[in-house]
């Protein structure tokens, strides 16, 4: 088995070898390591992408709108960097749709890291594959394949508001249950065990 440290190093070097800068290569090394740690086929996807990559073949998106559509296909690396670098402002859009992205799994870790720096969960849909990105700590998904995904027709990104995914009733019921570990307060207990004086005004 290759270690994650080896994956990071080899991907960083191969990204540089494809003409990206050292700073970008560092990002991609970390991203692919992260994908592999989450059980997604990062190495396989980037290897295939590098086989067809040339700088003039794919597009970047410098400025994001609600809907983004390239002439040809977006490069997942340039698109990902752009998205990550602007994610603080992009989150205001709440929903973003991006069409025609090459090798979209390479784009995914940038969104996962955006979830970390914006402090919001992000729901990502790559055609029919769904991913819930939890602050770059975990990924919940209906996609378990280890295959290469060559392209996405539509990617939908939704910044989720920070709210609980349980009802107020759930909370009340559990709060009531948790109170069963407390001792019922009596006047005598107040007098003997509270420590401070009973009057706040003395």
């Amino acid at each position: 088995m290759r270690s994650y440290s080896e994956i990071d190093t080899i991907i960083k070097r191969s990204t540089k070898a494809k003409g990206f800068s050292w700073g970008v290569a560092e990002e991609i090394g970390k991203n692919i390591r992260q994908l592999e740690l989450f059980g997604l086929p990062g190495v396989k996807n980037i290897n295939q992408y590098f086989k067809i990559f040339s700088d003039d073949k794919f597009e970047n998106c410098q400025s994001f709108k609600k809907n983004n559509k390239p002439q040809n296909y977006y490069c997942p690396i340039k698109l990902g960097l752009s998205f990550f670098d602007q994610s603080i402002s992009i989150q205001e859009l709440i929903d973003v749709e991006i069409e025609k992205v090459a090798y979209p799994l390479i784009f995914l870790p940038f969104i996962s890291r955006s979830s970390e720096i914006t402090g919001k969960r992000i729901f990502l849909k790559i055609d029919k594959k769904e991913f819930l990105l939890n602050f770059n700590l975990s990924i919940y998904s209906n996609y378990l394949s280890s295959e290469v995904v060559e392209k996405a027709d539509v990617i939908k990104i939704q910044f989720l508001e920070n709210k609980n995914n349980f009802s107020e009733d759930d909370w009340k019921e559990l709060t009531n249950l948790s109170e069963n570990i407390f001792v019922e307060e009596t006047e005598e207990l107040k007098q003997k065990t509270a420590g401070a004086g009973l009057s706040d005004n003395d």
Binding site: M1, R2, S3, Y4, S5, E6, F20, S21, W22, G23, V24, E26, E27, K30, Q62, L81, S82, F84, D85, Q86, S87, I88, S89, R113, E116, I117
Partner: protein
Amino acid sequence: MQVSLREPKIVMKLSRLGSFHQSKLSFLRSFLNEFKDWKYNKDLFDLNDRGYGVAVYSFSKDKKTYSLVCFANELKDEDRSDRVIATKWDAAFTLYDGIPSKLDIDRLSQNVPKQEVGRLSYKELTLSRANRSVRAFNYVVECLSNGKQPDTKVLSKVGYLYRTTAVYGSGKFGLADRFRIKNRDEINGPFRLEMMLVYLVRQFTFDQVNHIAKNKNPKDAVELDLDICRNLGIGNSTGLGMAPFIVNHPTLLNNWILSREIALKKIREIEKVSEEEFKIFYKCLTKSLKNISTWNTDSEYQKKKIENLINDLQKLINYLKDNISKSNLYIFDKLYNWAEENLTEEGIEYLVSIMMEPYNKITDPLISQMSSDEDSSFNIPVDRTINDLREIIEHNYSDILKIDFSKNENNKKFWFISKNKEEPRIGDRFEDRGSELEQPTAIARDIKKLYETIFTLKNSLKIGSFLGQSNDLRHIVRRVFITEKYPYSEIQDNTIGSKLIPIDMLRLKLSFFGAVNFDPRSDKWLRICMFQGAPLPNELNSFNQYWIYK
């Protein structure tokens, strides 16, 4: 009294970093302290008459065990090389996480002796190899087999029986990734498992030499005297590989230096130094003089440094006799200020190291802060502004900004990785080929380029927007923001200038390892010694913590 931390612009200069010495914070010393109550055992020693075979040594406590698996191989003299490009060694080692089964040992026997071209697994933690010091090893075998102890004067010229030529960890060649083990309390300090490997290898060298001597002359052979064993360490040959490491791990570098600086600051702030504390300091200082006089090197560069150091220590002792009395307050602050005015960088940094000796209460809490979670500082704060970036550069890199990189002398060298061995090298930009494949180690030059690029940009421009147009500077933007939180993360010098002495960078790292006897073989590699004078494994539960000043 409040003493300030020393300025990174002073401490992080290469000449200063290249004058660092081992201290209480050094990894081999903190390793010994951490493992002093672990059970040591020689689990397997299956060597033939000539000393070739397999051995296993372990440290265990509660339900945890770490095992060193050793493979000793026959090696022709002409195949023996300390260069990292070698492919065969006298012995190869791995530190196994737990107790290895016979199947594990069989698997490891097929891979460990091959080193970089073998494959390890997540069950192995570190990997190394070593060569015999031919002059010392054969001499000791000869003496012991004839029933005599070797002459300590002969041995002191070498200081060890084996030299390691590389020690790998952290996921290299399939070894366990750091994240798998980072939460274990006993290895909450940098390079602790590497130190364990080297320490147990040292014991293997004693057992092997005894074994060979015994088999050579079963009737008359004697075992190597324990005092002689204690005064032997493990040698190490180190080349350029360590230099990019300290550039590529800025937060780790910061945590090492910051711990040292905090220790110095706290010691200088001590108002009343007790008699006992001063006695420990003074004893270490005076013993150092004798100790340093035994360091052997053919390097004129190092001879000069040793000479300076001996002169400095003599001056320091004289100053102490004439100017410091028990009633003085803030003795160590006074001493340090005097040293800055009167000693060379070698002497100043040696003083910093020995001032720590009486103060476990200061150094012990710092040791656990010397590791680093590097991922936590990886993200560039894209919502910050160009003004923020500019201010950090002007504050943290002011000396770097003065370097004129249009001059060839400031741009002369370049760092690259060799294709055949994947090892760092340093070339001449104007004479050697390959500079187009330069590694991102020219931090000073890239800082200057970044500063010039942003000079005319709007203050309010967000870093995220700037990077959209300037991804070629992304690596350096990341570093600048790292220095904001980690002030000692950056070497404040030009790592590609004509005056660069690469061994200064190696010396910095080796001093934190706890190495002594720096013996440069050129400006690019040097030999050192580790654990010389250290207690033996079965003495760890009670040992003199000042063993290094023997």
